[in-house]
């Protein structure tokens, strides 16, 4: 399947000389929810801003629905809706006016029925004549979404849609996003909450220090995430793994002097106690035992640390 958004080797060095993106490539599949997960300063907003035309890239190429974002910016931008990270709205405007403005700005003829549908979907219909400054924070965020949806985009970017939002509003936002996906909109959201990415996304791209570290299906990624490895060094090399230890799916090193056991830290039991007992009853003497996290785990530990700072 051809991707709806194709990002190819995009780099960005800001005027101050800071390199915010170091050659990012990423394909976004039509109809999916992709979460860009990364700590503050990873380059998430920069990447989205480049796709949407707010920031100039230093290098690379992006197409949206086959339209190059530079040479055919009208074609590309017409397909995109953007909900920015900050709630930037004109305080004295009324909800309906600002949403109508957005639709016109994107070159669409007036369509009262569509705007009503969008406002109803976001529970803003009753507030359509309210001044924006009179709305709560959660409602303001939804006004931003309504503005982004006013021109019926095929691709929606949500930059940290739930940052600084309480738990209830966050759940509400997740439901909104799922509804939009059901309408056929492709969604890219950024977050620095692992749980959010896990709850929302079909695929997760991990970004840190301006680089995409990996992109994977959420289920596969979460499966891999809790894994840890235990390396058991033996007194004497083994020619083969004894059959009695078959259930542990051990890996034998080349020379037979070490075994590696992979286990899930999030499981009910890790199986370590039993493995050690079984090794003893097989008469295998141990020299040393080490455990280590997968490299993926290390990334997430960094993420979590960042989050709690």
């Amino acid at each position: 399947m051809t991707p709806i958004v194709k990002i190819d080797q995009v780099t960005k060095t800001y005027d101050g000389g800071h390199q915010a993106l170091k050659g990012v490539s990423l394909d976004i599949v039509q109809g999916e929810i992709l979460a860009l997960l990364g700590p503050n300063g990873a380059g998430k907003t920069t990447l989205i801003s480049i796709i949407c035309g707010i920031v100039n890239a230093s290098g690379g190429r992006i197409t949206v629905g086959g339209h190059d974002t530079i040479t055919d910016y009208r074609g590309a931008r017409g397909m995109i809706g953007l909900v920015p990270q900050e709630t930037t709205l004109e305080p004295f405007e009324r909800v309906m006016n600002t949403v109508r403005f957005s639709r016109g700005l994107f070159g669409c003829p007036p369509d009262a029925a569509h705007l009503e549908k969008v406002l109803r979907q976001l529970s803003l219909w009753d507030k359509r004549d309210s001044k924006i400054m009179k709305l709560s924070g959660g409602m303001k965020r939804r006004v931003l979404i309504a503005k982004a949806l006013a021109h019926e985009p095929r691709v929606l970017f949500l930059d940290e849609p739930t940052a600084g939002v309480d738990v209830e509003l966050r759940k509400e936002m997740w439901n909104t996003v799922r509804d939009l996906q059901a309408d056929g909109v492709t969604i890219i959201l950024t977050t620095h909450y692992i749980e959010e990415a896990e709850a929302m996304a079909d695929r997760i791209g991990v970004i840190a220090k301006g680089e995409i570290l990996l992109v994977e299906d959420t289920a596969a990624l979460m499966d891999r995430m809790g894994k840890k490895e235990m390396r058991i060094e033996l007194q004497a090399p083994l020619a083969a793994i004894p059959e009695a230890l078959g259930e542990f799916a051990l890996e034998r090193s080349e020379d037979g002097a070490a075994l590696t056991y992979t286990y899930d830290t999030r499981g009910e039991r890790t199986g370590i106690t039993r493995l050690l007992a079984d090794l003893q009853s097989e008469g295998i003497a141990l020299r040393d035992v080490q455990t280590k996290q997968s490299s993926l785990e290390e990334i997430f530990v960094d993420l979590v640390r960042e989050e709690t700072q």
């Binding site: 017409g78 006016n97 403005f101 070159g107």
Partner: protein, 253 residues
């Protein structure tokens, strides 16, 4: 051409204007009236006529220009500075619109506003002094061209400005002195020869002179020179705006 976008920007800006229409109108009308009282009555009682025109009538074109220049500049500069300031400019930058469409929307709205105010001031003047308009078409042409040019100039100032202080700097330090020294309240032929020469470097002189010609048929400089000067300035501003949007200067990092 994204006509819907131009219409959306224009309508949005005009709606803002009409919401505060009374504030927008009252202040220029009052200040014009004050000018008439002070200059027309007080000074006019000493200066009977300038070039055969009663002093009260003589200052009308200059007064209108003073207001229209200042308003065009402040309206247009605030129009684009405000979205930059509160961050809503992201939407303009991410929309499928060209620099030309954005400029037409903002500059068109700002120019319309100052044109409306200019006409209101003109109407107010009729209450104070008898005025003739010899060349109504040219009068309107000069007025429209001035509104457009200085709105375009204001648009550039709004993009350039990084703070409200900078935003106010240009009208205060550049426009007001140029207008006062531009022959709003006197004919430059009344100046000593040296200062007459200096004045010819003031672009506003050409505007006011041409505009006054459309009223009374008398000008300090040839009307064609006036037209050339203002179209030249218009073209220069247009070129600067084109460059700004191509490079993203001060708006796109």
């Amino acid at each position: 051409m994204n006509l819907h976008a131009i219409a959306a920007i224009y309508r949005f800006e005009m709606a803002r204007f009409f919401r505060t229409i009374w504030q927008s109108m009252v202040s220029p009308v009052i200040s014009t009236s004050l000018y008439f009282v002070v200059f027309g009555a007080a000074i006019g009682s000493r200066i009977q006529e300038v070039e055969g025109i009663s002093y009260g009538a003589f200052i009308v074109p200059g007064l209108i220009m003073l207001s229209v220049l200042t308003l065009s500049l402040t309206n247009a500069s605030l129009g684009i500075y405000f979205p930059k300031f509160i961050g809503t400019i992201y939407e303009l930058l991410s929309a499928p619109v060209s620099f030309l469409e954005i400029s037409i929307g903002y500059v068109g709205a700002a120019a319309t506003k100052s044109l409306i105010i200019g006409l209101i001031i003109l109407a107010t003047s009729f209450l104070f002094v008898p005025i003739q308009i010899l060349h109504p078409f040219w009068m309107l042409a000069f007025l429209v061209l001035t509104c457009l040019t200085f709105s375009l100039f204001g648009f550039i100032v709004g993009i350039w400005a990084k703070s409200f202080e900078q935003l106010n700097l240009v009208p205060m330090l550049v426009i007001t002195p140029l207008v006062f020294l531009g022959g709003s309240f006197y004919s430059i032929t009344m100046l000593p020869p040296f200062w007459q020469t200096v004045t010819l470097f003031n672009p506003v002189v050409y505007l006011i002179s041409g505009f006054r010609w459309s009223f009374f048929g008398q000008a300090d400089v040839s009307i064609w020179v006036s037209l050339l000067a203002i179209t030249g300035f218009f073209a220069l501003c247009l070129a600067i705006v084109a460059w700004i949007f191509r490079t993203g200067w001060r708006i796109r990092s």
